[in-house]
Symmetry: C2
Subunit: 247 residues, 2 copies
DNA sequence: ATATAGATCTCGTCA
DNA sequence: TGACGAGGTCTATAT
C-alpha cells in the first residue's frame, strides 16, 4: 500500500488513504488530532483534507500547492505523510499507525458550480422590482463597486433623497446595520450631501431585535424582503428501509 | 457496484463513490454542478460531501441527518442518489452517469481536534500578562459571558476607569471596532457609567488603516499584541522527486 | 499583496 | 430554539 501512495504522489493523482492515524498541524495555529480511523484525501491540486466519519467539514486541511512526501517516523518507524506549504509556512504531519485502504484516481472535472438565489440575485430582483422597497424608489445603480463602496443598490425617491439599500439573504444582524451606516457616511462625504438626505434601507427576510433597535437608532429602515422561494418541500416519508425497498 | 452502494446505505457505513455525475441542490439556495468526475462521500452521520479533484472545500454538501436513497432516473434510467434533509428542507440529487469506483467503511473515530493558539488562548495570555495592555491595567474578568456581553477581558486602570479589551488573533478590521464599540455601550448602560469612563482597547497583531481611523474616531486604543509564535519555518527544499527519493 | 464582504458559511455555546 | 461570535474560516473581487 505504501507503493501505491508513493506512486500516486509522484504521478500527481488524487489519493485517498483510509487509516488509523494521528495528525499534527502547525501554521496559523497548532492542532493535534489524536489517533482515530479516518480518511486522508490528497487532491490533484495538492490540497489536503482530513475527513472524520462524522461532521460536515474536513477536520484538518492544507491549501492547494502543498508539497507531500512519504517518510518514516524516526523513533516509531511508522510511515508518515509530511505535508508542507512553503509560502503559507504551514505544515501537517500524518502518522499512519495502520493503513486500512489506499485508492488513487486521476479525475477530470473542470465543472464549476452555479448558484441561484445568492445575495447578488436578490439585488437584481429588487432592482427589477423597486416597489419592494418603497412605491417611489427609483434605483439607478447596482453593486457597481463605486468609490462609495460596495453598495448593493443605490437610487433615489421622489423628494431628491438618495436611497442606499443593503441586502441580506439571511437574517440581518448588527454588522449589517454597521455596513449600511458606513455606506451612508461615505456617500454623504463623497457627494457633499447631509446624511439626512440619504435614506438607508436594510432589505432582508428577518432581523434580530438587537439589530432592529440599532437600526432605528441610526434612523434607517428595515424592509422585509423574502429571499428567493424555496422549492423544496420534503414530505414525510417512511424510514430508510422503505426507501431502499422502492429503489 | 449498485449492490455495494445499497448495502452501505442500509448498514450506515461511510460510502465513497467515484463517479461521473451531475448534481442538483435545492434548499437554502439552488445549485447545479454540471457533469464531471468527482467523489461523493456519504459519512456515517449521513452528512454528504461532493468533492472535486481540486479545491480545499467540498463543492456541494448536505448536513448530518440526511436520508439517502438510491433510485433510478425516470427518463434516462440512470442511477440517482436522492439525499433529503427533512428538518432543514433541503435536498440533493446526484445523477450517476458512470460509476468509476465504490468503497465503503465503518470507521471508529471519536477523537476531537485540539487547537492551540486560538483567540481564547490569547485572552488567557493577556490576562496573565496585563502589562501587554498598559502598565496600570488590572483585569478582573475574562470571557465570562456576563450580562455585559461576550467581553474578552474586563478590568480597570489606576484612575477608576473601566477597560474593555477585545482580542483578535489575526489582523483586526473595522468589524472588530464595531464589536468593541458595542461592548463599551452595553457596559456603560448596564453600569450607568458615562462612556468616557470606559477605555476600549483592541488587542491584535495588526490592523487595517481604515479600521485604525475608525478606532481613533471612536476614541479607542489599538494595542499591538503578537499572537502565539509560529513554530513552522519550512525551509526551501528540492522538488517532489527528490523528497520521494529520500523516503 | 491588501482590503472588503458573501457564504447553502460551519461550529460551539449559552440563554 | 434562537442569538451571537470565532474560525487555521474559505472564496471571490477590487484596488
Amino acid at each position: 500500500m505504501l507503493g501505491e501512495i508513493r506512486d500516486a504522489l509522484t504521478r500527481g493523482r488524487l489519493l485517498l488513504i483510509t487509516a488509523r492515524c494521528t495528525i499534527h498541524y502547525e501554521g496559523r495555529i497548532s492542532s493535534i488530532l489524536p489517533e482515530g480511523e479516518r480518511i486522508i484525501l490528497i487532491k490533484q491540486d495538492r490540497s489536503v483534507n482530513i475527513i472524520q466519519p462524522q461532521g460536515v467539514l474536513p477536520v484538518n486541511y492544507m491549501k492547494e500547492g502543498s508539497r507531500v512526501s512519504l517518510e518514516e517516523d524516526e523513533t516509531s518507524h511508522e510511515p508518515v505523510l509530511l505535508i508542507e506549504h512553503e509560502r503559507l509556512r504551514e505544515q501537517m504531519r500524518v502518522i499512519l499507525h495502520r493503513i486500512l485502504d489506499v485508492k488513487s484516481y486521476t479525475l477530470h472535472d473542470p465543472a464549476r458550480i452555479e448558484l441561484l438565489g445568492t445575495e447578488k440575485d436578490m439585488h437584481e430582483y429588487i432592482y427589477q422590482h423597486p416597489e419592494l422597497i418603497s412605491p417611489d424608489f427609483k434605483p439607478f445603480s447596482r453593486e457597481e463597486q463605486t468609490k462609495y463602496g460596495y453598495i448593493d443598490i443605490l437610487g433615489h425617491d421622489g423628494q431628491g433623497n438618495l436611497i442606499v439599500v443593503e441586502c441580506k439573504r439571511g437574517q440581518a444582524d448588527y454588522t449589517a446595520v454597521v455596513q449600511l451606516e458606513r455606506y451612508v457616511k461615505r456617500l454623504a462625504e463623497e457627494r457633499g450631501v447631509s446624511e439626512e438626505k440619504i435614506r438607508g434601507v436594510l432589505a432582508a427576510p428577518s432581523m434580530s431585535e438587537d439589530a432592529k433597535a440599532y437600526l432605528r437608532e441610526k434612523g434607517f429602515i428595515f424592509k422585509r424582503v423574502q429571499p428567493p422561494e424555496r422549492r423544496v418541500r420534503v414530505k414525510r416519508q417512511k424510514g430508510l428501509d422503505a426507501w431502499l425497498g422502492r429503489a
